[in-house]
């Protein structure tokens, strides 16, 4: 267990980034790492831009890191990936992106436009894995398991081969939706392997 590693999870309020951070933290804790996790919440409304940070290592002090310090970034929405790109380590960082767009209110009202080419621009600048996690989730029968699809896509980039992530997913999600989420996890992992 060498240096502290950092992950940034970004998306739109209500997309389920919290479950991803929970799965990650459970896995790291079980493997004996120290873990810190930080999110900003407090606005009740749905639909704003949200971010969560997870850090793990032998001993973690700061719960919050800054620009250029994320080893991995997971974007549940593709424009959010671009918004937070400066947090990613430009040399070694990996971006895992859900190829899916959600309009913001300023876009819906016509004041701004949804930008073209988010994924291409990310891929030009960073080691990027983009998968259609939302579409995969819908095919599996529940749009909500998009977060676990995306976790499947990112888990092999976390650099912790000793952790059995499938097992951790099974332990973290509620019994009722376990099978669905395991399918989602495997589908995401496969899609990422192909996308690399």
């Amino acid at each position: 267990m060498a240096k502290v590693k950092s992950a940034l999870l970004v998306g739109v309020g209500g997309q389920g980034a919290i479950l991803i951070s929970k799965i990650m933290s459970n896995g790291f804790m079980k493997a004996g790492y120290d873990v810190k996790q930080s999110e900003v919440h407090g606005m009740a409304q749905r639909g704003g831009s949200v971010s969560t940070q997870v850090r793990w290592g032998e001993k973690v002090y700061g719960p919050v890191f800054g620009r250029g310090e994320a080893d991995i970034m997971v974007a549940l929405e593709k424009m959010e990936a671009v918004r937070y790109a400066e947090f990613l380590n430009p040399d070694t960082g990996v971006a895992v992106i859900n190829d899916y767009a959600i309009k913001s209110t300023t876009i819906a009202s016509g004041a701004e436009e949804y930008p073209e080419g988010c994924i291409e621009a990310m891929a030009k600048n960073f080691n990027t894995i983009a998968i259609p996690a939302s579409d995969i989730a819908i095919q599996l029968g529940n749009a909500k398991c998009m977060n676990v699809v995306l976790f499947g896509a990112m888990c092999d980039s976390l650099g912790c081969p000793e952790i059995d992530w499938e097992q951790i997913v099974a332990e973290t999600v509620p019994e009722k939706v376990r099978e669905l989420n395991l399918k989602a996890f495997r589908a995401g992992r496969e899609a990422a392997a192909k996308a690399k």
Binding site: V12, G13, S25, M29, D34, V35, K36, Q37, S38, E39, V40, H41, G42, M43, A44, Q45, R46, G47, G48, S49, V60, Y61, G62, P63, V64, F65, G66, R67, G68, E69, M79, V82, R83, A85, E86, F87, L88, N89, P90, D91, K103, S104, T105, T106, I107, A108, S109, G110, A111, E112, E113, Y114, P115, G117, C118, A121, M122, N125, F126, A143
Partner: protein
């Protein structure tokens, strides 16, 4: 076994373990989850939502006077509201341990200013404890109670957003049962009469000296203050979350003096630490609170010239500003990222009210703090001023008086507060308007909950924090008791009724009457209220692309291929956009 928990969850656990028995608070980000996590301890801890922070602070103080350990929590601006009892409790001292949690919000993630509440400790001359991680959030509550009782002082327990909302591993302890001495009246101590205050002031000054000595000695033994000596070259005095950043970033060999008791500062200890290092830095967020005191005590140090007085720090910023290491990062500049501001939810009951008022440019809206503040945002653009909780009524009064004096006759002022805000401090403003003949219309947007902070009960909702049924206070009857008439109640989602109500109120106002409006419809996100499932769709053949529906500002509607389009995953079928459409092109989907 260790538990992964947020600072706020850990503080709640600390309340339980410290044997605190009475907790009263008003919600406010980032403090809210402390009280929300107390009902799990059942009968061991009584907890409640008070109507505002002043009340919560007084309830907890009363419990302390009676002998119980007690606690109140609030966001930083809440302490402005509760400052009155704080400053006098500081003179009178306590019975049972008395802890006031103030949760500051550097970077204004969800706050109206960036005040540094450490100044309150110095101003009120009370002890201040600052935890830096979830484990300390839990452990320091008990130490705070002990300090409070031993030194006869309220203890300010100061956290920040990142301490409150960051999770880390916490080891639990057992609950300490504290049995208070039998209660006996003590007027010399607990009556704030001038003669007593006069006698109390010297006690307060003496107490600070004793606390300072404690900070230099016993606080080192119990872990509140910590000295970690390195190679003697660089030393860092730090506290709270800044310690975590500095500890991670400064190279091995750096010495640290980490303070958990940050007021009064243990100056002899700091002087001793300073003598052991060649260069002394202070790393703290926001104001140079520690640094200025240290400089005033003649200890050469620096830090604020580098860290700055604004916004929160993080590992990268401390590395850059203190060690001069430029960050290595890339931005993707060829993509114009659109803003993603918060907006009223699809189906929010507040939408119809603001949509209606937005139609008349002569309506002046003095707003207040809550979800409904978002009525200011485009495309509704329906608010003129919003200053603080309760200000919606009283600032409106001032505007109305100014318009009167300046001869402005075409404006109509609407003062707008939410239900929770009405009970917090809107009621005093409502008295003001009627008493002093304000020509304005007070409106309460009653969505049956304290929405913005994540849906807490309040005196109007019929339930308590502990989940028990409670008397449900009726806002219309309160208005009527004051003497308002007519008091008009309306469902804000019915745009026709909404417009008729506003017109009626304006006519009554112009007729010399005293109208008030209450809009009532529950927030969609209240868990215990089931909402019917529905959805609206645009009939593309009827849609004339006039964009009238976009003016309601619902995140679920946009234009797609030249026609209005409703996102099925977001729409809840409230029909407000359908009512705004002049061509009946938006229809309820049969289900």
């Amino acid at each position: 076994m260790k538990h992964l928990m947020s600072g706020n969850e850990a503080t709640a656990r600390g309340v339980y373990e410290a044997g605190i028995k009475v907790c009263s608070a008003y919600p406010g980000t980032p403090s809210t989850e402390i009280l929300e996590n107390l009902p799990q301890y059942g009968e061991d801890v009584y907890c409640e939502w008070a109507p505002n922070e002043k009340v919560g602070t007084e309830v907890a103080y009363g419990a302390s006077v009676a002998g119980s350990r007690s606690l109140t929590t609030m966001k930083m601006v809440g302490l402005n509201v509760a400052a009155d009892p704080l400053f006098t409790a500081a003179y009178m001292g306590v019975g049972g341990g008395y802890v006031i949690v103030t949760a500051d919000d550097p970077s204004c993630h969800s706050s109206q200013n960036e005040q540094d509440n450490r100044h309150y400790a110095r101003f009120a001359k009370v002890a201040m404890v600052e935890p830096s991680d979830p484990q300390e959030c839990k452990d320091f509550v008990k130490l705070a109670c002990e300090i409070s009782e031993e030194f006869d002082t309220p203890v300010l327990y100061r956290t920040t957003t990142r301490v409150c909302h960051s999770k880390g591993l916490v080891e639990f302890g057992e609950r300490t049962e504290v049995t208070p001495k039998p209660y006996a009246r003590n007027t010399r101590k607990f009556i704030c009469a001038p003669a007593n205050a006069f006698q109390n002031h010297p006690l307060v000054e003496e107490r600070l000296k004793k606390l300072e000595e404690y900070g230099c000695t016993r606080a080192l033994e119990n872990g509140l203050n910590k000295m970690e000596l390195g190679d003697g070259k660089v030393g860092v005095v730090t506290a709270a979350i800044s310690y975590q950043y500095a500890k991670e970033v400064f190279p091995e060999g750096t010495s640290f003096l980490k303070l958990g008791l940050t007021y009064p500062l243990p100056m002899d200890l700091i002087r001793d630490f300073a003598s052991k290092v060649e260069t002394l830095y202070v790393v703290e967020e926001l104001e140079p609170f520690m640094e200025n005191e240290m400089k005033a005590a003649g200890i050469p140090c620096s830090g604020k010239d580098k860290t700055g007085v604004m916004y929160e720090l993080n590992t990268q910023l401390v590395r850059e500003r203190m060690l001069g290491e430029k960050p290595n990062f890339k931005t993707v500049d060829d993509i114009a990222v659109a803003k993603r501001p918060p907006a009223l939810c699809p189906g929010c009951p507040h939408r119809g009210f603001f949509y209606t008022l937005s139609k008349n440019k002569n309506y002046v809206v003095t707003g207040d703090i809550g979800c409904y503040t978002l009525g200011f945002a485009p495309p509704l653009n329906c608010m003129d001023v919003c200053i603080c909780m309760g200000g919606g009524f009283s600032a409106g009064m001032g505007m109305a008086k100014s318009f009167e004096r300046e001869g402005v006759t075409d404006k109509v002022v609407f003062g707008v507060v939410g239900d929770s805000t009405f009970f917090h401090s809107g009621m005093t403003g409502a008295a003001e308007i009627l008493y002093n003949g304000g020509k304005m219309i007070p409106c309460v947007l009653d969505n049956r909950i304290t929405g913005m902070t994540g849906h807490q009960e309040n005196p109007g909702t019929g339930f308590t924090l502990m989940g028990k049924e409670a008397p449900m206070m009726n806002i219309e009857k309160i208005f009527e008791a004051y003497g308002y008439a007519p008091v008009l109640t309306v469902d804000p989602q019915d745009l026709k009724a909404m417009k008729e109500t506003v017109d009626k109120a304006v006519a009554a106002l112009n007729n010399g009457e005293h109208p008030a409006i209450v809009t009532r419809r529950p927030c969609l996100l209240i868990k215990r209220i089931k909402q019917p499932k529905a959805m609206c769709v645009v009939n593309a053949d009827k849609c004339k692309s006039c964009k009238s529906c976009l003016k309601v500002g619902c995140p679920a509607i946009s234009m797609e291929n030249g026609k209005a389009f409703i996102d099925r995953t977001q729409c809840v079928g409230c029909t407000v956009c359908a009512q705004a459409c002049p061509f009946d092109a938006i229809e309820m989907e049969e289900n």
